[in-house]
Symmetry: C2
Subunit: 349 residues, 2 copies
């Protein structure tokens, strides 16, 4: 955990520049990472291709399901290395705000950050450490209060041997997850969603789903309220204690499961009639989403504190949100059932 | 700064209990603070009377100006000492959400917290230190996008000598401020507001207004955006380098200036016709308010992390807020002028 946060902190120091064209790859043939940095067979290159393909697929599925909205694209780069592609659909037919961002950044990690992250003795003085960080991150907020919000994020980090200590170990790890945040529970939909997550996990290790499901319930806790922002899914970080190829296949499988896990739920719910009361409850739950993201979410809080691209980071916030003083849903109501499931996480399958 | 935060952290460890009746005072005749704790002449007792009177006055002025809404009152107490009165008006004729809270808490501060706050050597082992903290805190969000949000907060802290070291120094300090957050600038209104702050300050020290105006501009900065949440006012903390009586009179004057500084602005703006565009811009600025409060405001973030009464803390959030991706007001527009004044603080008088 500490290591990935340090790397992210080091990553986002520089300001981004807008670009007019979308590159094939953000990797360079020759840079601090060495001449093989852009070799198409390296995990970093394959991971970059994967997240760009998933960005295309998710955006295409969203546009098809939405019927009206189109994604607008912002491409940016960093002088030190890498860049990103932010895509946002706003005020569509089905989604009020949908953001799907890809970023690929690399460069030199300050020695202090590396030492602090690795916990090595202060006497060792490594030179700057080359790092690489890439990820896809997305939050999809629909309009209909019966249609759930979806979040997913998959990322890959690498640090190389410092230039002046060629024997130093090379580090890599994966992180990510997919989670569902409805305002109302449709049990078959929540089961469907969790089943797809479990299926993706089970292909690789039977321990993954139960472990990452619990990790997700723990991570998305709004501590000051003692409730989660939604009904969970899977979450993991700093994953490197398995074969690297296996983990690349695993996160690829997870990312490719987003469309089949989510779009059928939207198809079933997007045209359901609703009242002002349903909408107001959705808006209150959106307020909780804002509380989690601004107060606890590590990507968001670190991004804000270290000068990341603000509009890309905060695209996760809903278009609108609401806070009523001391709102308590009536016991036994549909609103109460959702709240109960956020306070006491359930096993859905 | 560190000291007041530590004290606040120590203050809010216990859970509150709802009370049916509002007490005359939250002070007790005989407690850890010594038999004279509730003497009506002590600064703590006079400060408590002042904030309760200001709560009454502000709520009465709001209800009169609002015409429709009424405050609902929640009284709570803490087993360890003290309690609070939360008053909230929701969905009135003029205000969509108005909270005016008073709290008076005291008890024993853990020795570790005291040592960390005072920065003394770890070898000194003081016993638990009696502390006292009282304050009034208020955020008033009107409906009309031409009517500004107001925030004010005045607070007083004391620590007593530890029981086992009667010679140890007794500490006290004042903090607080009043600031204005419009979505549109009416220059005469902003001038009026700042003039009243300056008048309150100038009665006591000519250096106060310029110093506390700048402190306010610095404090309410949304760092990740490089813009303030509004047009400032006055702000100060850890104030104890003046005569205690003088500072009690000063914060009393500031708190009593809230009604004359704010209500005339509401009278002038509350019935102005507005469009959906005006409303959407107000909602975007409300989003900035949420960002500041959840990410940076010390009272809010400390309250959330240390288990304060959540509904009292988060009553500062607006009823509704909005986040649009990459919204940029047109240069020269009224929206742009407000944003410019939030990025480049102005001298209003």
């Amino acid at each position: 955990r500490a290591l990935s946060l340090r790397v992210r902190a080091a990553v986002v120091i520089e300001k981004e520049t807008p670009e007019n064209e979308r590159p094939e790859t953000f990797l360079r043939r020759s840079d601090e990472l060495g001449s093989a940095a852009a070799s198409p067979n390296l995990v970093r290159a394959r991971f970059e291709r994967m997240i760009m393909a998933v960005q295309d697929d998710v955006c295409a599925a969203i546009e098809a399901e939405d019927g009206e909205g189109k994604f607008q694209e912002d491409v940016w780069s960093r002088p030190g290395g890498g860049g990103g592609i932010s895509r946002v659909l706003q005020d569509g037919g089905v989604w009020e705000k949908a953001g799907v961002n890809v970023s690929v950044v690399y460069g030199m990690m300050p020695p202090d950050a590396y030492r602090a992250a690795k916990g090595g003795p202060p006497s060792e003085k490594p030179g700057p450490v080359p790092f690489f960080a890439a990820g896809i991150s997305s939050v999809l907020h629909p309009k209909n209060p019966f249609s759930p919000t979806l979040h997913f994020n998959y990322r890959y980090f690498e640090t190389d041997a410092p230039k002046d200590s060629p024997g130093a170990p090379r580090e890599w790890w994966f992180g990510g997850g997919t989670d569902l945040t409805p305002a109302y529970i449709f049990e078959e939909d929540v089961k469907h969603f969790h089943q797809i997550q479990k299926k993706a996990c089970d292909k690789f290790d039977p321990s993954f789903y139960p472990r990452f499901k619990k990790w997700c319930d723990d991570y998305f806790l709004i501590k000051h309220r003692g409730e989660r922002r939604g009904l969970g899914g899977i979450f993991f970080d700093d994953l490197n204690d398995y074969d690297q190829e296996m983990l690349l296949s695993f996160v690829t499988e997870c990312a490719k499961s987003v469309v089949p896990a989510y779009i059928p739920i939207i198809s079933r719910t997007k045209d359901r009639p609703f009242t002002d009361q349903h909408k107001a409850w959705q808006q209150l739950r959106r307020g909780r989403y804002v509380e989690f993201n601004l107060v606890y979410d590590r990507g968001t809080t670190f991004g804000l504190k270290t000068g990341g691209r603000i509009e890309s980071i905060l695209v996760s916030l809903p278009l609108t949100a609401r806070w009523e003083y001391d709102h308590q849903p009536e016991e036994g109501s549909e609103e109460w059932k959702l709240l109960d499931a956020c306070i006491n996480p359930k096993e859905w399958i």
